[in-house]
């Protein structure tokens, strides 16, 4: 697992994980659509689990892996409900102008 | 910093074995014919609009959306590297449960894992099981990571040549 570079040793898994976390943070800030933000959040979570594993906390890593799809599904259901609500409210906007903004 | 040339020869052989295994098993069980889950249809239609082949697009979408024989080959090599031949049988059980969680009947993943375990056991006298993990990552990089339109055309050509569409 260790790679010899000029007498010192460099591990690969923490390096990849820190790269994923930093790039994911910048991507969450820069993208503006909400679906792109969720994809970048997945990219961040993969790096986070790799960083937890590289410090040998295996139980925390397994529990995080089980809980992560549940939170993603709840977030996607919320965003889909918001889209339906916005479309249905635009249809009523001609009759009830006081509800819109 | 010396490079051993036997490592690259073993890596190339294991890449070829893994690529042949999962493409043949997935094509035989009808992944390019129809989208199994709802998300695979979106990926296939988008790749067709970019200039690719629609059956190859369905193949790549089915790999993303449920653990098929590609995930089975990776899990079989990992568990054979850690536990021996009994680990491959445990990996078959885990892949079956994962397939059923993702709304798939599970024929392709289970048989792909079992055939990969038998192939690794037959070849393990002169290629260590460590090289199959790297070979599987190389094989999935040539399909999902390099050039999507060309990969979909190659997969559609293979499926049409075998008569499975």
């Amino acid at each position: 697992m260790k790679v010899e570079v000029d007498g010192g040793t460099v591990e690969i898994l923490p390096l990849v994980s820190i790269f994923c976390i930093v790039m994911g943070c910048i991507g969450v800030i820069l993208n503006t659509d909400y679906l792109d933000k969720i994809i970048m959040l997945e990219f961040l979570t993969g790096g986070l689990i790799g960083l937890i594993v590289s410090f040998y906390y295996l139980d925390v890593a397994i529990l995080t892996s089980i809980m992560e799809p549940v939170s993603t599904v709840i977030l996607l259901l919320g965003s889909l409900k918001y889209l339906y609500l916005k479309r249905s409210k635009k249809r009523y906007s001609s009759k009830l102008p006081i509800l819109v903004k | 910093m010396d490079v051993n040339w036997m490592d690259f020869i073993k890596l190339l052989i294991s890449t070829g074995v893994c690529w042949t295994n999962f493409v043949l098993v997935d094509t035989y069980f009808g992944l390019p014919r129809r989208p199994g889950v709802s998300g695979a249809e979106v990926i296939g239609k988008t790749l067709e609009r970019m200039g690719g082949d629609i059956n190859g697009g369905y193949f790549m979408g089915n790999i993303v959306c449920s653990p098929d024989a590609s995930a089975g080959t990776l899990m079989a090599s990992i568990f054979y590297y850690l536990l021996g031949f009994k680990g491959g049988l445990i990996a078959t059980l885990l892949i079956f449960i994962g397939n059923r969680l993702c709304n798939d009947p599970g024929y392709a993943g289970t048989l792909g894992t079992f055939s990969a375990t038998v192939l690794i056991h037959l070849l393990s006298s002169f290629i260590e099981p460590k090289y199959f993990i790297g070979g599987m990552v190389m094989a999935i990089f040539t399909i999902q990571g390099l050039y999507h339109v060309g990969a979909s055309k190659v997969l559609g050509y293979i499926g049409r040549k075998l008569g499975m569409i």
Binding site: - | S38, K86, I90, F96, L101, N103, P105, G106
Partner: protein, 91 residues
Amino acid sequence: MVGGKLEYLYYILSVVTSLVVGLVIGLPVKVDINSFKGNLFFPTVFIALGLAAVTDFLFTLNLVFSILVGVVSSLFSKYVDVIFPGVSYGC
């Protein structure tokens, strides 16, 4: 092949037991790829091999455990569409 000579026979005994109990219970013989229901061959053999490997890794594998694994895997294959049902996307 797997390990000692005797463990190899226990795996064979577990598969044969699951097939015999499956015939008695009345699982269908015909293999259908597109269906979610289990038949005599598909989930039964692989579930039996996997459970036998888990039992061998955690505890020990003797005659009683081997027959018990066969019965449990056959019953699991009978009710596999109740435990893991397929989802139809209603929109």
